[in-house]
Amino acid sequence: MALDKQSLAAGFARVAAHMEKASDHLNELDGRLGDGDLGVTMLRGSREVAKVLPDLPDDLGKALMTCAQAFTRASGSSFGTLLAAALLSAAKTLKGRTEAPWSEIPALLQGALDRMMALGKANLGDKTVLDALAASIKAMQGMSDPAAMASAGIAATETTIAAMKDQPNKIGRAGNMAARSIGNEDPGQVAWLELLHGVKG
C-alpha cells in the first residue's frame, strides 16, 4: 500500500475522530495564554475535512487541496492557516499523481515546514508547532512504514514538548507574554502530537 486517495481519506477520518476527544484539552492549553480557540479550530476544521472525504478526487494534489480548503472553512486562526498551508504545500508537490510511496512523507513534511516558516515568519526555537514538526521529520528520516513513522513522530514530539516547556514562547499570541509562557506546553506542539495520535489510530 502507498499514499493514495483511500489511505489519505482513512487517515483524515481517524484524525477527525480523535479530535472529538482531544479538542477540549487543546482549548484549555491555548486559553492559558492565548485566546483558547485552538481546540475549536482543530475540531471544526477536521469535521469540515471529514465532510469532503467521500468525494475526494483521484489526483492527490487536488485531493489535498480540497482538504486544505475544507479545513480553512471553519477558521481564520493561526494554526488553522498554517496547517492548511502545510497541506497545500504537499498538494503542490503531488499535483498530477494518484499515488506516492510512504517513504516520501518526510520530504513532504519538510516542504510543509518550509512553507509554514515562510508564511508565519517564525523560526525554529520559537517554541511553536514548527519545532515539533522539525523533530518529527528528523525522527522519520529513512522510514517507509506509516505506523512506524507516526510512532517515531509521536516520540520526537513528546521529547520536544517536554524539552521546550520551560522556555519562553517567541511568536504568536503567547509570544506577547513570553515570560508568562514559561512552564506551559506550547498548544500548537500539543496539537501536532494529537494529529499524529489521530493518524496512527
Binding site: 481564520g76 492557516t81 508564511l119
Partner: protein, 333 residues
Amino acid sequence: MKKILNDPFAYVDETLEGLCLVYPEYYERTGTGGRVIKRPGPAKKGKVGIVSGGGSGHLPVFTGYVGQGLVDACAIGEVFASPSVEQMVEAMKATDGGAGILRLYGNYGGDTMNFDMAGEMMEMEDVPTTTVKVTDDIASRPKTEIEKRRGVAGIVYAYKIAGAAAWAGKDLAEVTRIAQKAVDAVRSIGVALTPCTVPQAGRPTFTIADDEMEIGMGIHGEPGSRRGKLLPADEIAKEMLDALQADRPVGKGDRVSVLVNSLGGTPMEELFILYRKVKEYFDTLGATIVMPLVGRFACSMEMQGASFTVLKLDAELEELLKAPADCAFWKVG
C-alpha cells in the same frame, strides 16, 4: 461602551445585512457565513478581478469600495480581525472572469498569511493571481522598512487606480504594475484624539488623556510616533504635512491628490478647517491639488481623529484617478 447594536457577536453580520438591504444595486452577499460582498451579477468576462479584504469597523473601507471601476469583491472579517482563507478564496472565485485576479489589501499580519494561502489555492486551480499590499502609513515604520509599513486610508487611492485600470480592460500584469505604482506613490499619516470600542471586547482600544492627541496612531490604535498636548488644527496639519513631505517630497509643478479623512467621530467641519492648511501648504510648495477628497473614507467606527493621504500623480495615475467609478460611498465622473 456607548454603541447602537444588538448582540456584539452579530455586529458584522447585521451590518452587512443592512448594507445590502439599503444598496442591493451595489452589493451582494455571498460566501461562507455571508462574509463576501461582491458586485451583483456574474463576474465580468475577460476583466481582471480585484479582490480585497480585511477586518470590519472601517466603513466605507473595505467593503464599501466594491463597485464599478473599483473592487470586485471583498472578504470580511470580524471587527479589526482578518477574514478566513476560505472567505478570501470565495471572494476570488466570485470575481474570476478568466483574466486573473489581483489581491489588493492593507499590510497586516493575519491578512497577509491568509491571503497568501488563498492565493496558492487559486493557483492550484490554475487561476493566475498577484498580490499588491498597501503600505502607506509612514508612522508605522521608518523609510528603510517601507515594505513593512501598515496600510491605512491610502488603500482608497489604490482601489480607485487599480480599479480603473482593470475596468479599462488591462491585463493582470498591467493592473498589478499600476496598483503597485499607486502604492509607491501614496503616503499617509493620522492623528487620533479618542479611541473606539470593539463590540466584542466592550472596552476602548486604548486610553488617552482629555487634552492629548497621538500623531501617527494606526486605525486599530497601534502606537504612533508622538503623543502630546492637543494642538490647534493648523499646527496639527503642519506637523503631519511636514512628516509626509520628509518621507516623499512634493515640489514645484507637482500634481497631487489629497485625502483628508475623518477616523469616524471627527465631524466634517473640522476636516474643512484642516483642509485650508493643506491647500496653503501645497500652494506654498508650488504643487497643484487635483480632486481633493474630504470626508469619511477609512474609519475606525466612532474614533475621533483624522488622517492625511497624499498621492503624487503622473499622467497615467491622474487619468486613472479621474476615470469613472461608482459605489455607494463614492462616485467619480
